[in-house]
Point group: C2
Amino acid sequence: MSLVVHRRNLDFLLYETLGFGTVLSAPRFAGYDRAAVDAVLDTVQAIAENEFLPCAADLDAHEPHFTEGRVQVDARVRRALGACAEAGLFSAGFDHELGGLGMPATVTMLINGILAAANIGIANYQLLTVAGANMLASFGTDEQKLLFLRPMMEGRWFGTMCLSEPQAGSSLSDIRTRAEPLEGRLHRITGTKMWISGGDHDLTENIVHMVLARRPDGPPGVKGLSLFIVPKYRVGADGTPGEFNNIALAGLNHKMGQRGTTNCLLNFGEGGDCLGYLLGEPHQGLACMFHMMNEARIGVGANSAMSAQAGYLYSLDYARTRPQGRPLRNKDATTPQVPIIEHADVRRMLLAQKVAVEGALALSCYCTMLVDRMATATDETERRDLHLLLELLTPMAKSWPAEHCLEANKLAIQVLGGYGYTRDYPVERHYRDNRLNAIHEGAYGIHGLDLLGRKVRMEGGWAMDLLVLEIGQTQDAAEAQGGFGDEIDALHGALAGLGRATRAVLACKDPEHALANATLYLDGFGQIVIAWLWLKQAVAASRALESGTGAGETDFHQGKIAACRYFFRYELPRALPLLVLVERLDSTCLDVTPAQFLGD
Amino acid sequence: MSLVVHRRNLDFLLYETLGFGTVLSAPRFAGYDRAAVDAVLDTVQAIAENEFLPCAADLDAHEPHFTEGRVQVDARVRRALGACAEAGLFSAGFDHELGGLGMPATVTMLINGILAAANIGIANYQLLTVAGANMLASFGTDEQKLLFLRPMMEGRWFGTMCLSEPQAGSSLSDIRTRAEPLEGRLHRITGTKMWISGGDHDLTENIVHMVLARRPDGPPGVKGLSLFIVPKYRVGADGTPGEFNNIALAGLNHKMGQRGTTNCLLNFGEGGDCLGYLLGEPHQGLACMFHMMNEARIGVGANSAMSAQAGYLYSLDYARTRPQGRPLRNKDATTPQVPIIEHADVRRMLLAQKVAVEGALALSCYCTMLVDRMATATDETERRDLHLLLELLTPMAKSWPAEHCLEANKLAIQVLGGYGYTRDYPVERHYRDNRLNAIHEGAYGIHGLDLLGRKVRMEGGWAMDLLVLEIGQTQDAAEAQGGFGDEIDALHGALAGLGRATRAVLACKDPEHALANATLYLDGFGQIVIAWLWLKQAVAASRALESGTGAGETDFHQGKIAACRYFFRYELPRALPLLVLVERLDSTCLDVTPAQFLGD
């Protein structure tokens, strides 16, 4: 078995549960049928297993370091990313007319996820480059595309996202980096950016930073931010990197995980002029940055799920082979020990991982398929509805895995016991890596505010109605299939609780009070969405078993149904009390004063 | 404020909530009044802050390493432990007649906890030495005490616990290390021991291993295990360490956290005879080892809580001073940012930490006071009851913090955002350190089996009855105090659910089925115990506010009441669905087959 990806599960999600075949049949994706997608994923899996996985522990143990005036990155990182470039993975999702391979967003998400499962420390360089290239593709002038987008799509130059500053993390309003207009799109950039992943390294001949900065004519707050292309080395008209652009590495951050990726404090314009090129319109920087934000956030969630999947596969393999203890009915120490998967509590820990990993991946796939369906929709109303659903689900797609797949990683360690706590086994590394996902791309609490403060209110709550309709279709299908009465009832009850909570918040005029429990709402809502997607999977599995299309795969499909039962029985009920607190606008957290935590 | 320990909280728990003053008034503790205990804790806090804390990050980053044939440990570790020895901390809990200081178990638990909060990597050497010395004090011959106990109590030699082997972790039945009788108590030891904390180092002139091994005349299983004193260097009749005793360091384990402590694979009897001395009776090894087990397990829980307390204090301090964002009512970016403690979700994360830390510490203190009350009890029935309560509560005292205080550490990281994810701040280190506590001293699931399979059945369930009586007294006090109607009702409801779950399990004859959800029972039961202890704290705080004894400390006592409300509203309701699963003997985890996890 692969320890990087469970392909059978991906196939089940894409083709048996979520209808990816229909997406592929659209003219836009004419070059891709299921066999072509399989071939792409085969290639990616091979790169992940051969180039990414073998050095993962070693890169974690030996971080990039600053020597002789530059950040030195292990040669295996360059080789692994070279293999990605050679396979065209940097350009996979871009339109054909830009020189890309025109793959569906669902496929590029899985490409990233498989690489991340093997070694997120390397994969990050690719993810960030593609994210930056996406903005260039959407907002760049022809010249900007020629100079910057092309080498990024070829994987010759890497990219970064420069939003945060030491004093401005969650609050982008407070960004201070300045951009002084020179001529045309040219600006002089000065300021300090923090937490810049891939911010400096010696992997490529240039690094293209996408920098949020404020022009003197910009209003205060986020409405005064513009976006700039700021290369490490200035680029001549022929596309050749030349003079150093005065971006000083002020420090490397030493992280708990994802240690293969450099993470930097950068000073722009220290020691000389730093030149940047305006991307898109002035003062529209955040809008440009957020243009691809849903996809980026879904990607973070997917990578979190894939990281947990790696832990799940490893701990499952371990549980099947590690003898320890005996059944509770047998205390005879002279009989052989049994594999620990025979113990109920170990199965519980494996089921908990399975529902987290495969539930989260179902959500990731569902969301990227919304992106793909938007791209292929021929009807404007349909496209709008798909967009609304995507907007609504994105906070969950990003945050649910960050919480619950981290928990899965924790359980993978537990299955291995003492061994799992050592760096000789990969499970603790995945746990450390995954801890970042509730922090970056919007901290956990921010997504709660986004969901309850903005998303559920969009267009009079139409997005919520759309989701309830979608869920209703699954309930109907489950009803028709039979055998899911408990799950249908539980989902009904949970949706009713969600509705009550939502209405209570919408009726409250004071935002502090209304949103005091937004994080709980995010988590409770997420549990309901995952429950729905588990029911959807179980119905698909039940159909396969009944129709005989799942012949020879009885265990696989029965496992899906078992996992669905587990989620509804063990996980969903724990979420409902959260929604009760939201509904009654509980103010416990507002009422406590700062002085009461410790006392006088 | 101290970043190591919140002394005001300890005082509140000991003297205002749990009645430690009464314990101190017993003749056995004649040397200790509150002022004397304060002085001890002052000394310990000073050692922790001056010797343990400053090097914590550095020792974490630079593990002990094997060079020139020996394990080299940083000199600061020796100095810190030297300060402990000088202050008499190694002998703190031992009887005066042994040369100890005769301190109550509650005080020694707090000594260890304060040191662990500052730097668990160093504190472990002390904890293990004291644990080994405790067994010598209980079961050693006079000669053994003279030769081994004395230098350990003086902190000149350190100790270890050698239970696990590569093939025998949770299943001690399967220990293979052999002990061949030579003459008298002398045996020849051969075998391999795994996960030995402090197993080798150059800190002291000798290391005393307490080794579980099997004599040829021992029956299979745990009933054939005996306990041996096995020094690294053989000890002459004059107590001088001499010849190497052939304990080979076969490997250092590289852990995720607690990295300041060496953790070793040891081969006994490799390259020559390894001599060990039988401690206690043959085949009574496990009983000897478990003699102090309740205290050791409570200590693990307390250290977990103290580690989380360190994260709580750090993140609270950060939240009070870090400006970021504005109130939701004010979007004006030209106004100053507010400290993040002004945001409801940050307060939620701080309250969640507070209830975990102070709830767990209340349980630790309650349990060690049972130990102290047993030691001072004059009535045999009373002592038996105290012992039963201690037996019942120990699985929770060990496991509840391991789960919920780890969660607290996770939230401390979240409060710090990106900063929290770096090794420049201590919160991620505490998180990594704390992850071990659900694994060692009995893995999490083992304690569930212990609780539901053994403890609740003791003496016809009398321990449970005793606990319910204790809780009832708190409910009565809360009733009398007034203002806690919701909490009293919630606790009633939760206890009823616990009772139903317990009865259902006791009525089930098949142990596999009955214990399939033992871990959920452990967690649900733990939540109820912590809820009870929060109500107890809130009643004490309410009394202090009412009586005026808390004058000038209104915030402190109101904070206790606020935290109690938070626990009952936000935490307790999530536990109850767990007990429903136990009650209905849910077999989801038993029914899933190993093949169903991945499929064919």
